[in-house]
Each structure stands twice: as C-alpha cells, then as structure tokens.
C-alpha cells in the first residue's frame, strides 16, 4: 500500500489584493479571485511592478525554498517522524533561483540532513509524475519514508504592468511524507501520466523574462483537464482537485464528471494559482479533514498536451 502519512503546504504572507492590482494599473483583476499570495516585498511591487524579473529575484521576503521548507516541516510533523528518518527527497520547482542544484537538494540542505535527493518534475502535472514514479517503484527499492515536495513563486515572473498573469498567479508550496511500508491517512490508489492532446498555445514560462499567458489560456487548460477526465472512468462521487485557473470553472467541471470541488475554487480565490505546487497545496490543506472512505481525484493538464491523474482514498 502506498500512502501519505503527512501533508504540508505553505503560502507566503504577502497579499496582492484586487485593490493593489488596480493601484498597479496594468492588470485587471479576474472577477472571482480576490487575493493572491506573493513572496515578494509589496513595496517592490508597488514601485517597480516587477518590470525586471531579475530585480524581482532579489526582492523576496521568502524564497521558493523557504516555502518548501515550511511545507516540509508541516508534513514531517504530521507524519510523526524525525527528519533523520526521511530516506529520500523528490523535489520540483518551476521558478528556481538556482538552475543547479535542484529544489530537493536545496531543501535537504535546509533540513540539514544527508538525504538522497533529486528532482522529478513535469510542469503543471508535476504532482502526477512524482506520485506515478513512487507508486510504481518496487517496495524494496524505496526508502521507508520519502518526502515529496514542490514550490512555485510565479509572482517573481509576472509583469504587473500588463497582461492577465498577475490576476491569476500566486506563490506556494506543498510537501508530502509518503511510504509503502507504513499506512498513512491517504492511500494513493492510482497515478498516471499520458498524452491527452496535441500541444496548445497559451502559457510560456521562460528562464528569463516574464511569464506569457494568453487571454484564452484559462479556457485552454479547462478543455485539457476535461480531456484528462474523459479518459478516466472511475471519477464519480469523488472530490475533484484540478489545476484550472478560473475559480468559476471548477464547479461546472466537477459536476460534468459526477464530482464535487474539493476546495479548488476557494483556494484560487484566496491564494491564486501557484503552478506546479497548486494541486498539492490544495490537497495538503484539506486532506486530514476528509471523512474515511472519501475519494479524491486530482486531474492535471499542461499546455504541451500532457495529462496526469492521481486518485486517493481517505483511510
């Protein structure tokens, strides 16, 4: 049995409200998102509107790895284990301040533990690729406890002078302690990745420069998520987590496949979308309150046509 023993999430304290967006002048607030969390200094955003992301990289109150660490410590505490019992860290970030080492290794450094660590990521479907690997690893080749993390700080890549990205994106991180030798409170029953469509335009995160998010990008990702769910027959009555951008789209999408929103719309509205870290943060925030037997379906898609599904059951 592959299960989650501890779950952690972290959002920075800085808030970009709709009033702040209006003050910044370049980004029109989306109708249903009220605040986004940012790890950047608000006075930096107000004075420079992140015109130069390189300057933004020096304006963090909390770095992406600070967020990963907070989430990891929460997960480790919930799992009831010591840091030294972690046998492996699998990490990811889509907004690295260092292209080398990886996020997993930066976290291991912050935990001050000699742990085998490397990154496994696949953009917006990262949680699915991490869970897919761990689910399908042989028990004897998997450490007793594995820490699975991701962090994203896209506000450092947003141009607050124009475009729509600033309306949707916020910063955050997730962490899970998983095991195949100890039962946790959430069992991972299925995880897969597959191609669901040809690549679509809409969203580019370059190594340098600003995020490019097209006007139609939210609608494209909803269509791709629907493609993912259409290929999965066992979603009825589950709670849905997905990586859509528009809060108003979540309930109809869930209903279409016989599911209910697990809290995606609420978290989008309050925290914004933190890219690769978003679905895991939503799950980590709510997982412990689920009733026994409740099923969760995480449906993820990216603009390259890759889809991912993770299905869990509260034990």
């Amino acid at each position: 049995m592959f299960s989650i023993l501890g779950a952690g999430f972290a959002y920075p304290e800085g808030e970009i409200s709709n009033e702040i967006l209006r003050t910044l002048g370049g980004v029109s607030p989306s109708g249903t998102i009220t605040t986004r969390r940012t790890a950047l200094k608000l006075d930096y955003l107000l004075t420079e509107r992140n015109a130069d992301p390189k300057r933004g990289s020096t304006a963090f109150v909390q770095t992406p790895t600070d967020l990963t660490l907070r989430a990891a410590l929460m997960a480790i505490e919930q799992a009831g284990i010591a840091r030294s019992q972690i046998g492996m860290i699998i990490g990811a970030t889509d907004t690295p301040l260092q292209v080398t080492p990886g996020e997993s290794q930066r976290l291991g450094d912050r935990l001050v533990e000699k742990i085998d660590a490397f990154d496994v990521s696949s953009g917006l479907t990262t949680l699915a690729s991490q869970m897919h690997a761990l689910l399908h690893w042989k028990v004897e080749r998997m450490p007793e406890y594995v820490l699975c993390v991701a962090a994203s700080a896209p506000t450092q890549r947003v141009d607050y002078r124009s475009g729509i990205a600033g309306s949707y994106l916020g910063d955050g991180a997730y962490a899970f302690v998983v095991s195949k030798r100890h039962q946790g409170f959430l069992r991972v029953v299925h995880a897969e990745q597959r191609r669901v469509s040809a690549a679509r335009e809409g969203f580019v995160l370059p190594l340098y420069g600003h995020i490019r998010m097209d006007q139609g990008a939210p609608q494209v990702i909803e269509e791709l998520i629907a493609n993912v769910l259409e290929r999965r027959a066992t979603t009825e009555n589950a709670l849905l987590i997905c990586n859509a951008f528009e809060p108003a789209s979540i309930a109809p999408l869930a209903l279409r496949f016989g599911m209910s929103d697990m809290g995606v719309a609420e978290d989008l509205a309050l925290f914004g979308h933190c890219l690769c870290a978003f679905p895991g943060a939503v799950l980590a925030k709510r997982a412990a309150q689920l009733n026994r037997g409740v099923r969760v379906c995480i449906a993820l898609a990216d603009y390259e046509g890759l889809g991912g599904i993770v299905e869990l059951e509260r034990c």
Partner: protein, 345 residues
C-alpha cells in the same frame, strides 16, 4: 517473484528488472575554445597552468568566440540571445543518434526522461520540447541532478516495477553551461564545455549493454558547493569539490572492484568528465591503465551530465563482448552514483 539482493542504496540486479541500453548518442557544438584563446582573454592563466591543473586542451561551446572575447559573458541572459546552439538542439541530435543505434523509431518510445541544468524555458520544459521535436508523443518527465545524471536515470528506472515501464525509454542529459560561465574567471572558463548525450533503455529487450548494477546518492548539506545561479554564473568551492570528486569516485570504483572482481586489463573505467588531471589521479590510485580509461574531457570540456554517457557513445564501436564498463560520476547536489554495464553483443 525472483528475489532481489539490495545492499543499502545499491541495487544488484540478480533477478527482477534487467535494463539494457540499446543505443547511445551524443552531440556537441562546433565552436572550439582552445587554451590559446583563453590565454588571450588575459584573465591570469596560461596553457601550462590549465594543462597542469585541469588537463583540458579544448572545449566545445554554443557561444560565438567573438561574443566571449567582447563581453566575457558578464550577463548570462545575453548568452542565451547570442548562442548558436541550444540544449534542445543538441539533445535532438543526440537522441536521433541513440534511436538510430537502437534501431527504433520515435513512436516506439514510451517515456522520456531528461536532465537539463540550462533550460531556455521552464514551461514548456526541455523534455517536452525535445519530445515534440522528435515526434515523440509519450509522457515526459524531468529527472534532474546535473552532473551524475547517467547514474541517476539508470537508478531511477531500475527502481520501477518492470511491468510499469514501457518497452523503450529515452533518457537524455543536455546542457550549455558555457552560457553560465564568467569568462573573467581564470579557472571556470577553462573547465566548461557544452554537449548532450542520449541513451535508449529497455526493460525487456536485449541490447548492446546490460545494466548489472545502479547506484545513486547525495549529500545535500553540501549542495551550495556547486551552484549555477539562474540570473548569474556558475561558481563552486573549487578545492572542496575537487577533493570530494576524487575521493567519492575512488570509493565508487573500489566498491565495484571488490564486489564484481573487476579486471582493469579488460574492463573499462569512465569517470565524470570534469577534469582530466583528476581522472588521471583516480586511475593511478586504482591502477587503471590508460588504454582502459575512456574519456573525452580533454578536448570537449566538462559537459555536466552528458559527459560520461557521451564517452560511452563515442566508444560504441570499440566495446568488446564480455567487457564490463564501470561508470562512476559525481557532481552538483552534491550527488554521485555509478552504473556497472556489461557488453553483451
């Protein structure tokens, strides 16, 4: 189910999944940074020092030499705009060679895993861009640790239950680290080269190389010893990293020698392609004769994760059946690993 013998982190493949490598490809840019070019940058080094400390004569770079001379690459963002090759282009070339050698077509690839420490974009990822360019429609994942990528990828795949792996997996490592070098630094400019390597792995088909054992480990408490800043340059604690590299590689090799009774009159050693002087030191320590030490660093430079597999690819036609090849790699993270291969056909 046949039993597996597991020794701490090392997987000795006695039963269970047996991976084979069916083809290996490599690709390097054509621009050459030789030692006289570095000398004329006037950064306080000369060929004699470089050959003594690093043992590298030439390196391949994606950057125009005129750009390096004029700017010393002080702004790494500008390097991307001026580069004549991208990690993606090099990766496509390497993957094409690997698949040709494996005798398979792109539509047969069921998974792509990629290691790239110098991506042009985060979304889409290098793995996705490579897959698109190659016409591969399989899922893609970035599995990343910079330099020891070959060991990590083999070990990562070896952990899977065989039934969960597709028939053919394309693994790649590609990087253009010269785009992150400060050419006012007298040693960094002499170390790095650019390159890509790709290898086709199969859990059920038989290929030229059988994977006998895989191993990967890391000590992230030392992760800041080797850094490439996103908005800046490569930097490292040179002395500490050199000591770590030699010591750790020797440990990896010794362990393989003892467990598998390696015979350096017949078997081959490939180390991390970072520094030819260090590799010579390791070979002297283990009594590995020059003809059984395969390398390319002295004329390509440090190609990060592509180095060791590129060496394998360059010696593809020189392998002899029954030969065992010990690949021991170290690098950023700090991480390290080994793969023991047997030439089977």
């Amino acid at each position: 189910m046949r039993a597996l013998a597991v020794l701490s982190n090392w997987n000795v493949v006695e039963g269970g999944t047996v991976l084979h490598i069916l083809g290996i490809g490599f690709s390097h840019p054509t621009n050459v940074i030789d030692n006289p070019f570095i000398e004329q940058l006037n950064v306080g080094t000369n060929e004699a020092w470089i050959l003594d400390k690093i043992g590298i004569r030439e390196r391949r770079t994606s950057l125009p030499l005129s750009y390096i001379s004029e700017t010393r690459n002080q702004d790494a963002e500008q390097a991307l705009a001026h580069a004549e090759n991208t990690p993606h282009q090099l990766g496509v070339n390497a993957a094409t060679m690997a698949m040709q050698r494996a005798g398979i077509s792109p539509h047969q690839i069921g998974m792509v895993i990629c290691n790239c420490c110098t991506p042009k974009e985060i979304y889409p990822s290098e793995a996705q861009r490579l897959a698109d360019a190659l016409g591969i429609t399989a899922p893609v994942v970035d599995v990343f640790t910079a330099c020891p990528a070959f060991a990590l990828h083999c070990d990562y795949l070896d952990r899977f239950d065989e039934s969960a792996l597709p028939d053919y997996i394309l693994a790649l490592s590609t990087a253009t680290l010269t785009q992150h070098v400060n050419y006012n630094d007298r040693s960094d400019g002499a170390i790095w080269g650019d390159g890509a390597a790709a290898w086709v792995v199969a859990p059920r088909a038989r290929g030229r190389l059988k994977v006998l054992e895989t191993y990967f480990a890391s000590d992230p408490t030392r992760s800041q010893a080797v850094v490439v800043d996103t908005y800046g340059h490569f930097h490292q604690d040179g002395r500490a990293v050199r000591d770590f590299s030699v010591r750790q590689t020797v440990r990896l090799v010794k362990r393989l020698e003892e467990k598998f009774n390696l015979d350096w009159k017949r078997d081959i050693f490939i180390g991390h392609q970072a520094n030819a002087t260090m590799l010579e030191q390791i070979c002297n320590n283990r009594d590995i004769p020059p003809q059984n030490h395969w390398h390319n660093v002295s004329y390509i430079g440090n190609q990060a994760g592509a180095g060791a597999p590129a060496v394998l690819g360059m010696h593809w036609d020189m392998m002899k059946p029954g030969q065992r090849i010990a690949v021991a790699v170290v690098g950023a993270g700090l991480s390290w690993g080994s793969v023991l291969l047997e030439v089977v056909s």
